[in-house]
């Protein structure tokens, strides 16, 4: 909910965009019970019309936008790259849980099995980026309809 409303306020909502949004509201209720309502608006210091590409370079992972679905695929790919080559992120963390967290120290290049896993992650990310999104979602929708018996 919040993410959709944030997109609306930034003007990033693509085909879902509502014209002239000044304030947006989310309403989220849980029986039992708890209810949260938020009112969102552009901050007074908000700078509109920032270069979208620059934003992506700065915050690669943070803000994918629905109107730029091709960029989103790039994000997935780049995020996988980051994960694959970040020595601080262990690809099999539950086999060998790190006992200490050493901040800002490099543990050197990936070796052996980890390297193999990194390669696999990369090729999977490439495949994913190359697969057209529409066919995927059609399949998913079909599956979801079959399974849904609510």
């Amino acid at each position: 909910m919040v993410k959709y409303m944030v997109d609306q306020l930034r003007g990033d909502a693509g085909k879902l965009q509502v014209p002239n949004v000044k304030h947006a509201l989310t309403h989220n209720i849980g029986l039992g019970g708890s209810c949260v309502v938020t009112v969102l608006k552009r901050a007074d210091f908000y700078k509109a019309g920032a270069d979208i590409k620059k934003r992506y370079v700065r915050l690669l992972l943070l803000c994918p936008s629905p109107s730029k679905s091709n960029l989103l695929e790039t994000d997935l790919y780049l995020a996988s790259l980051r994960v694959a080559f970040n020595p601080q992120i262990r690809l099999q963390p539950w086999r060998r849980m790190p006992t200490t967290h050493r901040r800002g120290t490099s543990q050197g290049p990936l070796k052996g099995f980890q390297r193999l896993l990194a390669r696999q992650a990369l090729s999977q990310a490439r495949d994913r980026a190359a697969t057209p999104r529409t066919s995927l979602s059609a399949e998913r929708r079909k599956l979801a309809v079959e399974r849904s018996d609510m």
Binding site: V2, V6, K15, L16, G33, V36, T38, V39, R55
Partner: protein, 345 residues
């Protein structure tokens, strides 16, 4: 950094989700608040930033749902919903309907609220079918929605019955997903040059049930209408705006009748006039508000723990592992605040 974690799952599963990103020692709090889990985490994170405990906090929500309708995880202890369910049965027992209600309890609670609204104020189930059709229509252009088909109001009415009144397209589906929001202070925004992204969390209201829940013997109240009223009032007060200042709304339409009964609770119309909003088309593009531009929970999916926060990717239930899941993030800032927790608006 002070992340706050959320889920409808086992204790400390937030730690399980985040530890492999680094054993940072940063506090993690797990929240379990039914369908509003994600937003509740947002509230905790926002309060931590507002109180000056942290400059940057993460609210993360994720959910892996069991197939079929919601049910309790336990059968050997008190059910948190037992008060609501027993009163619902009591009220329904006094009414003389031709046909007994049936189906999953969550759908029945919201279905009963819709039914009472129709009886009291002259709305019809056609209005509710129109709401469902409107939401599904919005989802046609949302690439992240779980369902993007667009049934008409008639098709919605004639679809498979889930309870006595509710049909399949009026229900939110079983979904898995994750979403996150980063909440930062105003100083953090300037320090990191995020002015082109920061959206201000102008008002936030969080509420629980009032005595009206059981005292009024109203099925609309049993579905939490008074919580919505109170939370909305607090959010409007804090933001210094009213319903007419809002252009776009994401509303909790876990079942279509809940959208109808929530319109007056959010102050969009007087009590008993919600169906007139539907008739005027004030809930879609070209109307006064656009309500659920994403397609609502009925279309985009409803992974309980993540719903309040985000846009999520509907995931394949056939065993896609957690590593492949992808989060979407929203960046929110809250106004400058003092160490005393006073928020300047």
């Amino acid at each position: 950094m002070f992340p706050v974690l959320v889920l409808d799952g086992d204790s400390t599963c937030g730690q399980r989700a985040l530890y492999h990103l680094g054993m940072t020692g940063i506090p993690i709090i797990n929240v379990n608040n039914n369908c509003s889990t994600g937003s509740s985490a947002l509230a905790v994170a926002a309060n931590a930033v507002a109180a000056g405990q942290a400059d940057c906090a993460l609210a993360l929500g994720f959910e892996k749902m069991a197939a079929g309708s919601l049910s309790s995880a336990w059968n050997d202890r008190a059910n948190p919903m037992e008060g609501t369910i027993s009163q619902l049965f009591e009220i329904e027992g006094e009414k003389e309907y031709e046909k007994d209600d049936f189906g999953p309890f969550a759908a029945r609670i919201f279905g009963a609220a819709g039914q009472e609204y129709c009886e009291k104020y002259g709305a019809t189930w056609d209005h509710i079918a129109q709401i469902a059709a409107k939401n599904h229509k919005h989802s046609a252009v949302n690439p992240y929605a779980q369902f993007r088909n667009t049934p008409s109001a008639t098709e919605v009415s004639k679809a498979r019955a889930i309870t006595r009144e509710i049909t399949l397209p009026m229900c939110s589906p079983t979904s898995d997903g994750g979403a996150a929001a980063i909440i930062v202070s105003e100083a953090f925004v300037h320090k990191h040059g995020l002015e082109s992204q920061a959206i201000e969390l102008a008002g936030l209201g969080i509420a629980t049930d009032s005595p009206k829940l059981y005292e009024t013997r109203s099925r609309i109240e049993l579905a939490g209408a008074d919580m919505s009223r109170r939370a909305a009032q607090r959010a409007y007060e804090q933001a210094g705006v009213g319903p007419s200042d809002i252009q776009v709304i994401e509303l909790h339409d876990c079942f279509a009748p809940n959208e109808l009964v929530t319109y007056p609770a959010l102050g969009l119309c007087a009590e008993g006039e919600a169906h007139k909003i539907v008739e005027r088309g004030d809930n879609t593009y070209g109307g006064k508000w656009v309500i659920n531009p994403s397609g609502g929970l009925e279309s985009k999916g409803h992974p309980l723990g993540a719903t309040g926060l985000g846009r999520f990717f509907a995931l394949d239930k056939s065993g896609v592992s957690s590593e492949k899941r992808f989060l979407t993030l929203a960046l929110l800032s809250i106004p400058t605040c003092t160490r005393h927790g006073q928020v300047h608006g």
